[in-house]
């Protein structure tokens, strides 16, 4: 794939189209090795109170700031206001001005609250953040987020942690038709083919955590996802054959041996 095929947004450029998370890993060490295997260049992190009893070692000891771009997320926020404050605190840490904007409405399904999300996006864009909003697969909302200045839109493929893959490729297709910013599928990827399918649809990237972190072998799955995203991207660029009910043989029938 030509070197030039990179993921670009907000003036940044990334060779890898896979964004990975930090949650749910058996331990920091396996997380670190999974990140390595995934080839990802962007890693999302939660914004939390420092743990005062210093038993726990710091997550940041396991993420090489030179290799990885940190993408703080506003997980756990249920209103625009909470998300905005969390984003501002995250930026104060001084390691990133990007934010994976997440405003959850329903604790059960972790579906986003698009109203609040749009509000928060508008505010944070004005505040100079690079905003990557996690939304559902509503093409109308995707457009509104783009118009509000989101650096990319991140529709879910399926509910967070469900592992159901791209439940509605039709909506993703419609979002892609109209989008002028990168479209990154966020949530739902359960196995490699889910990521490949997302990329074959023409998505610019895939963000995942549970699918890797909770696999029996997170490091192997991370490597699988690295290949899966590359495979899907290449297939998209290569231009697949059309689907037919059936076709004809690839062997020219002239030249058949007389037996």
């Amino acid at each position: 794939m030509e070197k030039s095929d990179t993921l670009k947004f907000a003036g940044r450029e990334f060779r890898s189209r896979l964004i990975v998370g930090t949650g749910k890993y058996p331990d920091h060490r396996s997380m670190q090795r999974a990140h390595e295997a995934s080839g990802a260049e962007i890693v999302t992190v939660a914004v939390r109170r420092v743990n005062l009893d210093r038993t726990q070692e710091s997550l940041l000891d396991y993420i090489d700031a030179k290799k990885y771009t940190l993408l703080p997320n506003t997980a756990g926020c249920y209103t625009a206001e909470e998300a905005i404050k969390t984003a501002i605190l995250a930026r104060e840490v001084g390691l990133s001005d990007m934010v994976k904007l997440k405003v959850i409405n329903d604790q059960r399904t972790l579906f986003p609250d698009n109203e609040e999300l749009l509000k928060a996006t508008k505010v944070l864009v004005k505040e100079g953040f690079v905003v990557l909003p996690y939304t559902n697969d509503d093409p109308v909302m995707a457009k509104k987020l783009e118009d509000a200045g989101a650096a990319a839109v991140m529709p879910l493929g399926a509910p967070i942690g469900s592992g159901l893959g791209i439940r509605n490729p039709y909506n993703i297709k419609i979002i892609l038709e109209a989008a002028r910013v990168p479209v990154i599928v966020d949530a739902g990827v359960g196995t490699a083919s889910d990521a490949t399918i997302a990329m074959e649809l023409g998505c610019d990237g895939v963000l995942m955590n549970t699918g890797i972190a909770c696999a029996k072998d997170p490091v192997a799955m991370a490597e699988a996802m690295r290949h899966a995203v590359i495979a899907g991207r290449l297939a998209y660029l290569a231009g697949r054959i059309p689907k037919k009910l059936y076709a004809t043989a690839s062997s020219p029938l002239e030249g058949m041996v007389e037996l």
Binding site: G23, K24, R48, S58, P72, G76, E92, K100
Partner: protein, 65 residues
Amino acid sequence: MVNGKKLEVTDGATITALLEELNINPLRVAVQLNLEIIKRERYDKTTLRAGDKLEIITFMAGGSE
């Protein structure tokens, strides 16, 4: 009150001092004092009083799917 926990802090101690005492790397945290964010350069100018509510924030695992 630091991160919701009662904590003995010598009256008049600076945020810098507190972080040192807690052995927290100031370059990896954000600090909010009584709901107001304190810029890093003001950590050693800012002193703490009884009843102050301090939040020390950092990045931890989680939040992405």
